[in-house]
């Protein structure tokens, strides 16, 4: 049992069990490129800063700081959709990133789309925000350890009924396991919601009745609006707004907050956003 616990903890980082902004030291060349991008941003050369930040992302760097800065650069360029996307990604990587949250709030004040009506999702946005900071990774590890420990103590209780203590310890371990299971479940649910989140990056995109160009247009969404992707069919995605408004939007116009290849999300076949016209 002790060996199992040590093994789990030792491999927690390797399996991405623990949310760890700052857990990995960036390479010196990446740090230099990041510093150059920041210098360009501060000197007013926003386009050069944006290119440098994007180059880091193209290298596979996942950093809440990088995403926040890139979002700010896009916002200064007036690209609200891209800015919102990168602020959302910063929050996915580090839900406690206060700068990204504040910038996203500021950005949304200027959004074209203003949602009306009751939130049909029952406040899924709020729920996602509440669940996102839950330490799902560590909780799941503790849950596993406590679960195994509980059963071990229960076994002792069965086989050595004359000994005092295993029963109490078993009860305590199962209590801890239950609490951690609850946290893990919450984190898993929050993650499921996060994986469905997307941002409209096109200036405007028609939302249609079906996944076809000839389908009638119901309404229009504009850059910076956050949506939930419920389905995908060909070059279209079925998106739902927070107030329940649903329609099919071109996949190019809507970018997933958690891109393929991130956090265990499968890499989908097909052209990436960068290669799309």
């Amino acid at each position: 049992m002790t060996m199992l616990a040590l093994l789990l903890v030792a491999n927690a980082g390797a399996f991405g069990l623990l949310p760890s902004p700052g857990a990995e030291a960036p390479g010196s060349s990446q740090a230099q490129l990041f510093a150059d991008a920041n210098a360009a941003y501060l000197s007013g050369d926003i386009s050069r800063a944006t290119s440098a930040y994007e180059a880091l992302i193209a290298e596979g760097v996942a950093s809440p700081t990088l995403e926040t800065n890139l979002g700010a650069a896009y916002l200064r360029q007036g690209k609200r959709g891209e800015a919102a996307l990168h602020f959302e990604r910063a929050l996915f990587l580090d839900p406690s990133d206060d700068d990204a949250r504040a910038d996203l709030t500021e950005l949304r004040r200027g959004n074209v789309d203003k949602l009306e009506g009751e939130a049909e999702e029952g406040g899924s946005e709020t729920l996602a925000r509440v669940l996102a900071p839950l330490p799902g990774g560590p909780a799941s590890v503790v849950f596993l350890i406590a679960w195994c420990a509980g059963w071990a103590f229960l076994g002792l209780r069965v086989f050595q009924p004359q000994r005092r203590g295993p029963g109490t310890w078993a009860a305590a371990a199962f209590s801890v396991a239950g609490l951690c299971a609850l946290i893990t479940w919450g984190a898993a649910h929050g993650r499921k919601l996060a994986l469905q989140r997307a941002v409209v990056v096109a200036q405007s995109a028609p939302a249609r009745e079906g996944p076809q160009e000839k389908s009638a247009t119901h309404f229009e969404v504009h850059e910076g609006t956050t949506v939930r992707v419920e389905d995908e069919e060909g070059p279209f995605r079925r998106v739902k707004l927070a107030n329940g408004l649903t329609g099919w939007v071109s996949s190019v116009a809507v970018e997933l907050v958690v891109p393929p290849g991130w956090a265990g999300r499968p890499v989908m076949a097909g052209p990436s956003r960068a290669s799309q016209p």
């Binding site: 991405g16 700052g22 990995e24 510093a35 996942a62 800065n69 004040r109």
Partner: protein, 614 residues
Amino acid sequence: MRRGWKLKRTGSVAVAIALTAFAARAAEVELTATADSSEVALDGTLTLQITATFASKGSVTPSIPAFADFDVVSRGQQEQTSFQFINGAPSFRSTVVTSLALTPKRAGDATIEPIKLDYQGRAYTTQPIHIKVLPVGATPSPQAQRRPPPQRNNPFAGLDPFDTTPGGPDPFADVHPGQKDLLLRASIDNDHPFVGQQVTYSLYLLARSNVSSIDKLSLPRLDGFWTEDIESPQQLVPEPKILDGVPYHAFLLRKRAIFPLRPGKVTIEPSEVEVLTGFGMLFSRGTSKRTSQPISLDVQPLPQGKPANFDVGNVGQWQLTASADPLTVNVGAPITLRIVASGRGNVRDLRMPRLAPIQGLRAYDATTSDKEKVEQGAVMGTRTVEQLLVPERTGTVEIPTLTMDIFDPAQKQYRTLRTDPIQIRVAPAAGGGTASEPVAQNVLSAGGVRPIRLRFTTATLGTPPWSQPWFFPLLALPPFGLALLLGLSGARRMMQIDPNVKRVRLARSAATRRLQGAQALLAKGDSAAFYAEVARALTGYLADKQGVAAAGLTREELAQALQQRGHSEDLTRKLGRVLDDCDRARFAPTAGEAPAREAMLGRAEQILSELDRA
């Protein structure tokens, strides 16, 4: 690069145009006479230029007096007539320039007598010119060298071929044309410039014969230079020049400022020109092609000791100023900061200082504009950077000194230009203060994009544990493991049972099997064996289960032993009777009838059941 190029001597053309109808229109005559120096050596030559300008078409000839103190060595005359419409009416203006080369007759003070001109019945006279004649071999002082003053409407003004401003050498100093009457001459004013320093490239046509026009002027490629045209004359304007004692006309074809971009030796390829000689188009004698000589430059790298912030584009003689407008402003109102660098040099490569972030001032992206002009043969430029600043707090905000490091090729040293600091007084915004609270308030509203972060941290991305394939199997492992352990424990207990205990547990089944054997014997009709087997079933059970060896006991001892084990008296009595009946039947076969034997089986099973329950 080859360009179509055509210059005409408009004076010759004008002669061919007979528009004499307007000649009668009287006009003012300007007559001037200038000498190129106030001093001349006794063995030297003085150039006297007489210019007559009058408002009509045609030609006049000033009257040259017989000079008392000078001999006339050579004489040349050029004429030019311009034609234009003024207020809808055609208007002519003619200029006649007469150049005389004079040599003094004696040393001492000399005088050039006034020049006279009679035009349409009126006489015009110039002032006498006093010249100091120095002894043979003496050199006139530089202050004595003077150029003809610029004259209003003088078409030759500013076209002094010897002006390779500023301070350039005479481009014809080393020209010895020999017997050539037409040659193309290229020159530069500095063959050891620094990188980024202006060099003036001039191209002259020297002619003894009359030049009608220029065709197909090909200028060299100037790779490795940034270039700017200084003069590109559209008309051929001759200037007299005496080379090796022979009078020539020098025609400036092109003057261009070039700025070397790299250090090292560079050769400027020759230029080429086709010249049409003769008088005008009707009397042209032919076309001659002339090529200039190549020119070599040795471009010097900038000297050592560059300041840390020096940019290689900042070469020239520059001045830096900064200004802000307005200097008193309300919070949130814009201020325009202008940083201006002006001077001589290549403005396009100039790197301007940048304004560092200032606490309390929000700075927006700067815009840059350039202006260029040519002054006295030098390319002058002005670069203006305008930046919008918005104060975010009240009080005094200072824009600090801005610095720009330059290299001054004239002084051959680096210099640091500095602007004066600018104080801006920021007052509260309109409506931000109240009468009862005169102190300025600093209103800090939440919002706006936050500043970027500079510390680079990365996050590790991975699949969460609950999505790993081992997660749920690992969860199921403990309960299954415990269940397995329990099963194995039970099996082990079964494997390790005591034979006596096992015999006790299996006593009933053994007794049952014997009764079944007795039933088989009953079916065969062997009554003695039947009763013996029934008795063995009961005694065997008693031996296995109760630990009572019935065979060695009397009925009373057997009943007593069973009663000691908690069995009832009635049960012991029944057991004794059954055992007695079995004994009697075994040894008295006639007493055992079939119904009695079957009843015996029932009685034996009942006793076993009761013994089992007890």
